[in-house]
Amino acid sequence: MISLEKIQEMLFEQGYITEPQIVMAVFLSMKLQKPLLIEGPAGVGKTEIAKVMAKALETDLIRLQCYEGLDASNALYEWNYQRQLLHLKVLEKQENLTIDDVETDIFGEKFLMKRPLLQAITHHKSPVLLIDEIDRADEEFESFLLEVLSDWQITIPEIGTIKATHIPQVVVTGNRVRELSEALRRRCLYLWIDYPDFEKELSILRNRLPEIDARLAEQICLFMQEIRKLRLEKTPGIAETLDWAMALSALHFDYLDKTLIEQTLGVILKDWKDIRQTQLSLTELYAKTGIVSKVDSL
């Protein structure tokens, strides 16, 4: 029996620091067997939710990464043409085979390459199906996906209709690159994840890097909170915070100072204009976060 508390526990055990809202969304999507649509800025752990769900449910994660031009054959299935041709070539040597025999042979399971969607519905145990960055795919693909998500069956002309043995737990993520269709939104439960506040970020950091110095962790989080307030091209997410913290603690630093920040800015900012802009407002950032250079503190 799934309960709210249990999900919270499961997520926590997997190292995912949650807000009640996220727990509720995950809980309801499991209970109601509805896809969960997660939106939010890059690097806040949207994809992570699906991974954690799969781990917590002790099932497999099947991932469909969307991109521009993704079409049904890349998402559903494809025949292994090369293998079919080779097989035909061998069959040629045998006589007394009818067309029917050859056909049933050649369109058999072993020549079928299952792509994520088909994999998901034929899986032996209800998997977590992650459809990542759906807004990158074309609108045609979105409507095709709607069809699959509502019927849970796929028709392959040569074989017939394959019905889902278990309905997968679906997580759809989006970055708001493009407006998603109303139809898709209506089929899903909705969750918005924003950048974490100071407390949450700190506990994520502590959870992921237990050995990190307490003061360093606090300083990093404080600094990240401030840096997100700048108008940047690519605002750093939690992933960047973790990278930075990992780098600094690997170098055995236990506090932030000016030189250190200037030298390692490239870990959190990935755009040269952002770096330039941040460098210009560093003094302001230092004042806000109370960071001093070694020279100052002496």
Binding site: Q21, M24, E39, Y81, R186, Y190, E233
Partner: protein, 373 residues
């Protein structure tokens, strides 16, 4: 699907109705989902109750941000209604057959009963709005006209999309390459090569003047253009007044109005003169390499009153023209019948502009679509 029907379910349905009036897209299915979901959570926890409704009834960030206050408003009103009802039944407990009608809530919910009539009235008013200049639209109709623009743009974008669709979406075998690749197998076709029609999608750059006189026009233009996101490979939006700002990312999260408000609180010299030349040259310097190529259409929206250096404007226009496919200059003033390009900035820019068009009303926005391919 729903086992028990209690007064709670009635209230939830009324709540859904209330949300619907506030631009939520909620149908019967969502109502059912919400009710079903509520049966899974502990009933007495009001926070969880709220979150549960939030997850099931909201569809995007904007709705999410509105939800809290609407939720509060509704249940407060409901409490009051229930209070008055209890008092009511104490007074005359004879009429026990009467269903709890929550009349006061209902009348509040529907505002006044003439909802439908009002809607039809608005619709016919909309026909007139099509040709009305944006600047003369009264404040209270702005919401409505932007709604209409969104709808129209969506429809047009779909049409453009269909028109451009390649007829052969299925894979086409590239015989020449297939044969060549399979020489090593003694001419046996093992490895099949495919060819795909090359897709050259157009990129669109929007440069919008947001000085006070232009602001409203810019808002409508952006609302219109954003419906075409699926038609273009990429749309990047910049605003300029005295300096250039890139707002593509902000627009993904917020409405244009909110973005503008944020901008005006952060920009230091907001209400200075317009410096088109300087802004355009910043644009070419910083984004030219990254964004401009022969598949880029640059759309500039301004009245051409430049208070800065005209030489810089000329130079930047030349550079943009060299690097892009097409420059479209939209001037809201051009809508008036006795318009002449008298603004100095406009005269300097004119030689580099491929298409010059007005955008002053809904109709002219609609005509804009023909220039985009």
């Amino acid at each position: 699907m729903i086992q028990r029907r209690t007064s709670l379910s009635e209230n939830i349905i009324a709540f859904c109705r209330f949300l619907r009036q506030n631009d939520f897209t909620i149908g019967f299915e969502e109502e059912a989902t919400a009710l079903q979901a509520l049966s899974f959570i502990p009933f007495q926890d009001s926070l969880q109750f709220k979150m549960c409704l939030m997850v099931t009834l909201c569809r995007d960030v904007r709705q999410l941000s509105k939800f809290d206050s609407l939720h509060h408003q509704y249940w407060k009103e409901l409490d009051q209604a229930v209070d008055s009802k209890t008092k009511d039944s104490l007074d005359r407990n004879r009429s026990q057959n009467k269903q709890p009608s929550l009349q006061s809530l209902k009348s509040w919910l529907y505002g006044n009963q003439l909802q439908e009539e009002i809607q039809t009235a608005i619709h016919s008013a909309g026909e007139i709005l099509v040709e009305q200049d944006f600047s003369t639209i009264p404040e209270d109709q702005i919401e409505e006209i932007s709604e209409r623009i969104r709808e129209m743009a969506k429809w047009l974008a779909n049409r453009v999309n269909r028109r451009h669709k390649k007829s052969n979406t299925r894979k086409v075998i590239d015989l020449k390459n297939t044969l060549r690749k399979n020489m090593r197998n003694g001419g046996e076709l093992v490895n099949i090569q495919y060819k795909k029609p090359k897709k050259n999608k157009i990129k669109l750059i929007l440069l919008c003047d947001v000085s006070k006189s232009m602001e409203l026009y810019s808002i409508f233009l952006l609302q219109f253009m954003y419906a075409f996101q699926s038609v273009f490979k990429q749309i990047e939006t910049f605003t300029f007044g005295t300096s250039l700002q890139k707002i593509t990312k902000e627009l993904q999260q917020n409405s244009f109005r909110k973005t503008l408000d944020d901008l005006s609180t952060t920009a230091q010299n907001w209400s200075g003169g317009t410096q088109i030349g300087k802004s355009l040259s910043t644009f070419v310097d910083n984004f030219g390499v990254q964004l401009l190529n022969k598949n880029t259409i640059v759309l500039i929206m301004s009245d051409g009153w430049d208070t800065g250096d005209l030489d810089i404007l000329e130079e930047s226009m030349r550079r943009i023209q060299q690097k892009s496919k097409k420059i479209i200059w939209l001037n809201p003033l051009a809508g008036s019948p006795n318009f002449e390009a008298t603004a100095q900035g406009m005269q300097v820019a004119m030689p580099f502009v491929d298409i010059f068009a007005p955008v002053h009303n809904v109709l002219s926005l609609r005509n804009l679509v023909d220039f985009l391919h």
